[in-house]
Structures are given as C-alpha cells and as structure tokens.
C-alpha cells in the first residue's frame, strides 16, 4: 500500500485565551490513504474545523499545537517557512465555506484562481495560467468568460464552485472540505457534492470532508470519524457506522435524521438532548456522560480510549 496522504498522530490543539487554556483538539490520530476519503462529523465546537486549519498550519498564534501532522510525508510542524509555503495548496488545499468571505471581494475570480499557480510555478506564463483557469472553471460548471467577474456578481452556489476550482488549481493530493455546503440550499448542495465526487474520481484525490451533516458523509466518504469534545469517539467504514453505530453519541446523531417513509421516526424524531460541553470546562470521565442515555456510574470516572468495536472499527465507550 502506498504512503498515506495525511497522517495525524496524537494531534492536540489548545487555544490560549484570557479565560485560560481551552483544549479544542485532545489527541486525534487518523490516516487518509492516497485517493481515499474520510468524513469528519460532530457538533459545533467539537474541534473539527480546528483540525482543518491545523493540517496546513493556519491556526492563529494563540493556538498551541502538539503531535504530528504528516502531509504527503512531510511533517508540517517541522517545516521552515519556505518549505511550509511550498506544501500549502500543492500537497493539500482547502475548500472553504463560500458563503462566508472566502473570496477577496475586490479581486476578479480568475486572478484569485490563477494566483496559487503562479506562486507555485505550476504554470510557466500568465497566459498559460489563464488557459488553465478557463479549464478549471469549465470543469466546475462555470462558463470560462466568468473569470472576469467579481465574487459579488456570483450566486452562493457559483462562489462555492469557484472555491473548488481554486482548490484544484495546483493539483493537490488532498482536498480538505470544511463545511463546503453549509450555507447552500438543498438542490445546490447536492450539485456541489456531486461535482466534488466526480472530480475526486477523475483526479484520484484524497478527501477530508468536515461537516455536521452525518447523512452527507455516508454518501460521499469511504470512512467516517465522529468527533466529540475534541476527540474521535467512533471510527469505521461509513456505511457500517451509520447503519450500526457503536457509540451512543453516534447513535444519537444518526437518529437525528428521520428515515424517509418511516412514520415512527417522523412522528418522534429522536435527537440528542442537551448541548455539547464547553471545551474550557469538560465534565470529568467520559465527556459525553451527562447527555448519554446509557451512562453508568463508572462513566464519570475515566475517559475511555478508542478500542476495536468490529471489523476496521473503533469506538471510545466502555459499553463496546
């Protein structure tokens, strides 16, 4: 088997704030093989977006990072500034959420797509960059002449496509999609996801897909990792995890999506009660125990480690 595109080894990220240290990621290890795809799901504040930023070392100065991030075999946190810039966008690129301000409002989109190619010299001339921008735009379903448009002249779905085209500019091995469809309406969301899936097949791209929408991940990712309070609580092949969750938290997430045609699930949507814990003040023991329907007294004492819960599956719960 070839070398994995992305390896996280015991990644920990702690934000230093005026109110003290806030651990956002507390020891996450995962692997994505070349061309593989992993879906990372969890509620807001579970640390999933922090992981996206940590891979390209984009976190603010207040974030303390420990552990290792190996991107295309390079230890991102050992690289010198020049080496780091060289890996960014060529080894791993990020598809940001387009509804927010991920595009520079005063630059034409064509220039923004061409910029990384010229910086990393993946094209030799500005003219070649222009040709490639046209190809990229066409490949995401936007007419090439729109390269001269400014971001505000595009719809939300088009902006998201532009961000995908931009991420593909330097033919990266890994695409990190951080909630790429959150602000889009359902039809556009489906188009964007289909597009991502197509491009992935054509280019043999590895994908790290981050979202809070578990149902999307099962369709578009080979494997699934569920995060809770800065740790992975369950991991495995996506179909298996969604169909037969081992961890009570995954069960709660999966049950929050009503099954079409199933009356009982529609009449009684069973979500999770309560709110995700404050990362600055996690409960003792298993951080999920205050919301867990199956909690036992010993859950308050020690935080369970990930252990084998089935073929290629792991979960962090004393009940598995």
């Amino acid at each position: 088997m070839s070398e994995p595109v992305l390896v996280l080894e015991d990644l920990r990220v702690t934000y230093r704030t005026s109110g003290g240290a806030v651990p956002a990621v507390r020891g996450v290890s995962l692997e994505i093989p070349a061309g593989g795809s992993l879906g990372l799901a969890g509620e807001s504040g579970c640390g999933k977006s922090t992981i996206a930023g940590a891979v390209l070392r984009l976190l603010p100065g207040t974030a303390e990072v420990s552990g290792r991030v190996l991107l295309a075999g390079k230890d991102v946190y050992e690289l010198k500034p020049g080496g780091l810039r060289a890996v960014r966008w060529t080894a791993g690129a990020i598809v940001f959420q387009g509804a927010l301000h991920a595009l520079n409002p005063v630059q034409r989109i064509g220039d923004q797509i061409a910029e990384p190619m010229l910086v990393h010299q993946t094209v030799s001339t500005p003219k070649a960059a222009k040709t490639r921008v046209a190809e990229l735009l066409e490949s995401v379903g936007i007419p090439a002449r729109r390269a001269a448009a400014y971001p505000h002249q595009l719809s939300g779905g088009q902006r998201q496509r532009v961000l995908i085209a931009m991420a593909l500019a330097c033919d990266p091995q890994l695409l990190i999609a951080d909630e790429p469809t959150t602000a889009l309406d359902v039809m556009v969301q489906a188009q964007v996801l289909e597009l991502l899936a197509d491009l992935r097949r054509q280019r043999d791209l590895a994908l790290l897909f981050i979202t809070h929408d578990l149902s999307l991940l099962t369709t578009y990712c080979d494997r699934l990792a569920i995060m809770y309070a800065g740790r992975i609580v369950e991991e495995g092949p996506s179909g298996d995890v969604f169909a037969g969750p081992s961890h009570p938290y995954t069960r709660g997430l999966a049950a929050a999506f009503p099954r079409i045609g199933d009356r009982s699930s529609r009449m009684a949507p069973s979500g999770l009660g309560g709110d995700p814990p404050d990362p600055a003040a996690l409960p003792a023991g298993c951080p999920f125990h205050p919301r867990c329907p199956l909690a036992r007294p010993e859950c308050r004492e020690a935080e369970p480690a990930l252990r084998i819960s089935g073929p290629e599956r792991r979960a962090a719960c004393i009940l598995v």
């Binding site: 960014r88 966008w89 060529t90 991920a102 409002p105 910029e115 990384p116």
Partner: protein, 312 residues
Amino acid sequence: MGSALTLLFVVCFNFFLFRIVPSDPLAHMLRGRNISREVQDNLRAAFGLDQPITTQFVYYLRETFRGNLGISFHSRQPVWDEIVERIPATVELLGVSWLFAAVIGTAGGVIAGWRRNTWKDRLITSSTMTLYSVPDFWLGIILLTVFSVVLGWFPIGGMQSVGVRLQGFEAFLDHLRHLFLPALTLSLAYMGEYTMVTRSSLVEVMSEDYLTVARAKGLRDKVVRNHHALPNALLPVVTLAALNLGFILSGAIAVESVFSWPGLGQATAEAIRGPDYPMLQGLFLLFSASVILFNLIADLLYMYLDPRVEAS
C-alpha cells in the same frame, strides 16, 4: 443634484450665521476714530447696512448668483480678489501637509495594524494619538519656540525673508525654510487620523476568511498583506484622504496665525475680528463648495475602487 442643493443651503445659511454675532461691523471699520454721525450714516448706506435684514438677504442672494461676492469691509477690495490672492499660499501649505500626513500616517497604520500588539504598534499608536490630541496651534508654538527662537534653525514666520533680495534657487530654499515648521506642525497633527483609520480597518480585514485562504495558498506574508489585505483595508482611508483634500482650501486658521502664513486661514481669522461680513461669506462659500466637491469626488473614487459599489 444633491451637491447643488447642499450648496444652496450653505449660501443661505452663511448669511445668517455671521449676523447672529452681536457686533457692529461699522465700529471695527472706524477703529475707534471719532467720526461724525453723518459720515457714519453714509458708510452704513454705502454698504447697505441701513437696509432691513430681509432686503440685505435678497441683495446678497442676487449678487452671489451673479458671481459677485461683494466688497470687503476691511480692505475695500472685492472679496473675490482678496481670496484669490491668498489661495496659492494656503494650497501650498495645506497640500504639502496633507500629502505627508496621509502617506506617513497610513504607512504607520499599516505597520501597527499588521503587527498588532507588538512594541511597534504601541509606539506608533501612542505617539500619533498624542500628536493628534494635542491642539495644533499649541504644537506649532512649541516647535516655533524650540526650532526658531531657541535654536534659530528656522525663520519665525511669513513666507519669505524680508529685507533681502534672493533669486532663483536661493529664493526657493528660503521659501522651503519658511514652509518647514508650519507644514511639520500640520503633518504631525493630522497623521494620527490616518494611522487610526488604517489600523482599525486593517485589523478588521485581517479576520476575514480570504486572508486565511491567501495564506493557505502558500503566499508570502508580504504578498498576503499587499495583494489581499491592503486593497480592502485602504478603501476607507482613500475616502478619508479625498474628504480631507476638501479642507485644504479652508486653510488652518490657528496654525497659519501662529506662523503668520498669509493664507486663507489667516484671512478668516482677520475677517472674524471685524466682523467683515462679505469676506466671511465669501470665504465660507468657497470652503463649503470645496468640501462638497471633494465629497463628490470621494464617492466617485470609491465607486471606481470598490467593484461592489455600482453606479446608481
């Protein structure tokens, strides 16, 4: 259209503004000399001061629209000629100061904002804010005392040396030496405005997602700043600079007086002492027109610089 209406309002407002001041212009014209009642009445009639205020207002409106700004009470010269004569001095002093304040102030703001909460930021922010909060004439007096009176490096006022005849390059140098202190005073005093606007605008832009995107693309820090942050962050600064350009004509009343700089600011100070109604009306009309004009220019400029603002 909006600009024209504003100007009309200013024209009317100017007339009443100066007549609220409880003072007799004639007393100033006579400067305490003992002059017969008859002559006083003649003077009053000559300047139309014996007419009811409504009639004066109608005359004023009619003549203003004809382009006649009247005769100065003080110098007995047409107001327009008096003003035109002083425009070059004011435009020179204020123009030079505007340029330095804008360029240096903005550069300071960029450094402070990009490296927020470092010693550079603290040094730049605190020093420009101190200078900005100090009254400009006071700063002028201090500089004048130190550099002209104590050290004797610069002349104490005026635009050129009196009593010597200089030519060519020497005259130019002499002129620069006179310009230096008042221009320095005004530049220092108004730099802070640009620094604070630039800094806060840059800090705001720095939290935008497109800067994270720019860094993720593998761009150098400088490129992220110059190609992505500044084109967005400097939009309000350009507007500020264009608006301030409108105040160039109105001169600096206090600083021009401190340095005896023969510009429109000094003329305003003199006219207020009268009060010289026609002169004040003329000056304020010019000031307002220039501010309104540059407001319009700032709007047009913004439309050109920011693609999101469409012509309406």
